[in-house]
Symmetry: D3
Subunit: 233 residues, 6 copies
């Protein structure tokens, strides 16, 4: 689950938009999560997925007492390595939060890079106060036990309609969060920065007044011009 500093840096320079396009060209159409959005402005963040799984609440299971159980969100958090992005499968349910400020503060303390969920968080103001970057489907006051039963961590999960396995890599930015299957991480890290470079050049061309056809995607002439202008020297 280690992610080298080089890979982390390379991916941090690639937008989620570009990553989804690269994955699409490799046949992966389901990578972008529906639901998680940044709660406020955060920089782009990258990390291996640390998964958490919730199922629906049942009154005999989801009680304040369950918070002290060994199979609790508390235990999961204490098991999170530094640098991961925690991903919580809330089945898209927004009526009850999966975490509040105290748990998020502990994650921050443990060096977790970000928290991503297709559910909600509570104590929204407090969560922002912890400084932890969070991507979620909004805020809601009720505690997790009002809607969720926590059942385990580092299992395969779904989040926002996308499969996430421990060891996959998450990239999150202003557009939302994308999962890169573990086997494709190096490919994306290689192709992404080049694609960004081209998009920046194309955007600059547009700003100079160049029309789109033949530019984006580039025809041969523009491809050659791009290469001449950007690769020289």
């Amino acid at each position: 689950m280690l992610l080298s500093a080089d890979l982390r840096a390379a991916l941090g320079a690639v937008s989620t938009a570009t990553i989804t396009t690269i994955l699409l060209k490799k046949g992966i159409r389901r990578a972008f999560m529906a639901g998680p959005k940044p709660l406020t402005n955060f920089p782009r963040l990258v990390g291996p997925a640390f998964t958490m799984r919730f199922i629906p609440a049942r009154e005999d299971l989801a009680t304040p007492e369950s918070w002290a159980s060994p199979r609790s969100t508390r235990a999961a958090i204490e098991d999170m390595p530094e640098g991961v992005i925690a991903v919580g499968d809330a089945r898209g349910l927004t009526e009850a939060a999966i975490f509040g400020d105290i748990l998020v503060a502990r994650m921050k303390k443990r060096g977790v890079t970000a928290l991503v969920t297709d559910g909600t968080l509570r104590d929204g103001v407090g969560v922002l106060g912890t400084g932890m970057p969070v991507w979620c489907a909004g805020v809601a006051a009720p505690a997790s036990v009002a809607g969720h039963t926590f059942v385990g961590w580092q299992e395969p999960i779904g989040c926002g309609g996308v499969a996430v396995f421990p060891g996959d890599v998450i990239v999150a930015d202003g557009d939302g969060a994308v999962v890169i299957p573990q086997a494709l991480v190096e490919d994306v890290a290689k192709l992404g920065p080049e694609q960004e470079r081209f998009e920046n050049w194309a955007l600059a061309e547009v700003e100079k007044g160049h029309p789109l056809p033949g530019l984006y995607p580039p025809n041969e002439a523009n491809r050659a011009r791009y290469e001449a202008e950007t690769k020289k020297g």
Copy 2:
């Protein structure tokens, strides 16, 4: 996960409507699954839950090849004991089926009592042809790999917004499917038949022209009358 013949018989005489009311009185409000409906008319059926878990499809995972993997629906089916009710967590997704007629036929052959899912089945006509009683959210032609990745069996799951653990008991009838938490099975088996007896008496009273207030729920006089009429001799 055994369910004695006595318990099975007792629960088979209690409607899912009555079971939800008994569970409600015991504080369990989330027991009835949203989604699963009988695909045609079936008798009421009872069995311990055998759970199956699916997460969203991803093109690198959910392929026809995955059907031969050891962590496949095929392996899960071969592990099902006689008399269970298989419960498939499809996250309510109806665009791709979890099973078609061949897999359902094998379940039938193995003595599975019923199949319950908040997703869909394919080859609907073929599925009915197997004789297996199924409760589902309809039919859809696409194979599971078009929408689902199978990740395991006999884990805690959600189905239709309800938590289901292996060992819980499922009862399914014309209204749909309900889960009885394992610890409450004996209570429900004890209280249910008596409640049904009272409801039958009350219905007969209504048919004789008795008004509802004081009858259902019964005031003391009607409670006494019911007991005199039904318990005597």
Copy 3:
């Protein structure tokens, strides 16, 4: 709230499809309820609306005990005159039923013409057994207290996205249920049968091979022909 036998007979000969078209020509676009469908085949039925209002359940309010309160569904049912169509505002919530077989049996006994709701019923088999025609959004086992608090009857309500006032007239058939504002009942009863007569003639023409343009809606020639053929003698 009386509906004369003549009006009842006239409206009983007009489909809900035709009624929505007549209302549309009078500027009423919101008359057909989304949600209520016949639970099995029933004949077309007509009656003044008897409204019932539910709000969301709250655990301190919606208890089995509340069933004996004077502001209960039981009291509402005992207040229903013969010949009404009871309309239950369930806010489109399908997770908990508003009624089961015993209450429906009592409504049948009191001469209620039909029950219409944008929610669900429980004991579906039992409800059909009472012989009461019901239009609903399906069946679900949980009792009303699991999702609803009953708050009153003969108030203005919404049902299936449509406003219903006591005294409006409901017509329900295979397509679903429509509300006719009280002030328009006589107009619909006058225009409807004539519109049905024309539609039957047009359908017969189509079956004879007549193309649609100029027939439906009719141009002057076809209008004249229709009148000649149907009104003569």
Copy 4:
């Protein structure tokens, strides 16, 4: 847009479930329409798509008067060749029907094979009475002008979340309706019957008690056995 009798016969022997699997293997994951279901039991039907496009109603456009316009559903119907399957893009809106019994009767008269829509029909009983096989998202009384403006035919459309072009081929059966891109029709007609033959053999094996692993999908031994048993002679 012609579909030879051979292709029609070949495809008529292949279930929509099998077709979606074949398309999936060819990289097409979006072919099955969400929404259209058979209104009653119909045989499997095949035909080239004849598309119809609706946009939302606007009170100045969608009036009973518009039914007589040259750009009307009437004109579209008169343009339908024999043997097509008419496909109506209703944007999944179920509150207003796209057609009633008179228009469907005319389609039947013109030899249209079936009508498929992600919207609703009105006069449900009358529609069934025409004998036209229809796949739809249910019935609703309001006329199309209450929710739709008809804007054209034989244009590319969406239906049930799937792109449909004139000339694509539609197959509809008990599971619903699938679109085969025109360029893939011959492939599907070639591969489908063989796949059905294998599935029938596998189902028979299951009924004889054969377990699933190695059978479906078949390992080499079972593949050989299948070929020996079914291809001999």
Copy 5:
């Protein structure tokens, strides 16, 4: 419906997150409204609920003329006492606003504390300009008559899936809005501040590096430590 200054102050110091937890421990799981969110940043606000009820629009009822009727939103607003929180049941419909800037300005003038609705407001910029704190499901330009018929005030309503009775107390903050049943207001006002005190202590402990297990919820040792540290002196 009076709310003493003491109760108001006590509740104003308790987050909606904490209130839902306290209510959950008392068996109330349905108290947090789905839908209403603060339109911009507002402080936490507290007040007794003043309810308003809307049903769906019907073209003969919901007209600009209806705004002058005695049963109008205008009359309701003139009946609002100072210090209440107005709660509008819009059935979750977001297509038409319940109020615009002029009505909200009048509410502000009358000393209303806040406006909460599961529907939308119009003239969003103007509404913010009035200075009235509003919790709503967003903004939409159409007037209420385009989607709603106002039918009364100070009746039991649903809002965001939650029952609200006149006299219940509303608390709204950054997470959204919660209803406290009247009978539980004093309990919440007593338990809430203590719970907040503990949460603040736990958060400070987390920030010092204390792990979660045994801290939140506290084991005996931590409970004792908390009491020693916070209650002494």
Copy 6:
């Protein structure tokens, strides 16, 4: 499709809230789009609609290669006259964006006034960086080909549940976007400013403490007072 500077200026002074009310009085209830919201604060903008139509993606159609086709979004953008408001029919699908920053930058360069869609945009930060005012249903990273096939421009479309024809006029502000049917543009431009003048007067009256009944809508006395105070001199 020209819109005179006078009409543009007149409409620019009328809020979308007021426009929907004027249209409602003229019988148009479906004019406000559900979905498009300003991505950040923009001034009110006005322009004739330039429509773009997307249908669902199909893997054989919606590929990166299609971006270079003559029937591409690129060609549509090069066809946009200065001053139009581009309106993209994304069928409300939010999982894949219709445009990213490069295409939006080109639209800005061409003098397009604004972009309105019921779908999403990608590269949200980049889009804001272009300075183009956009009204959309949020942001999402996946490219259009992941969810959409572009099929044409300047055709009738639906957007946010509303019909839009080339030549209709769009007005967008903080509340969202409204379409004015071409035939009603002059009427709205005439009635709108007067209605705004009255609303401003009424708001000022409210701020002076005037109660609502008789003021908004005005009775004869207040109407006279308004006219005296605002029209004098």
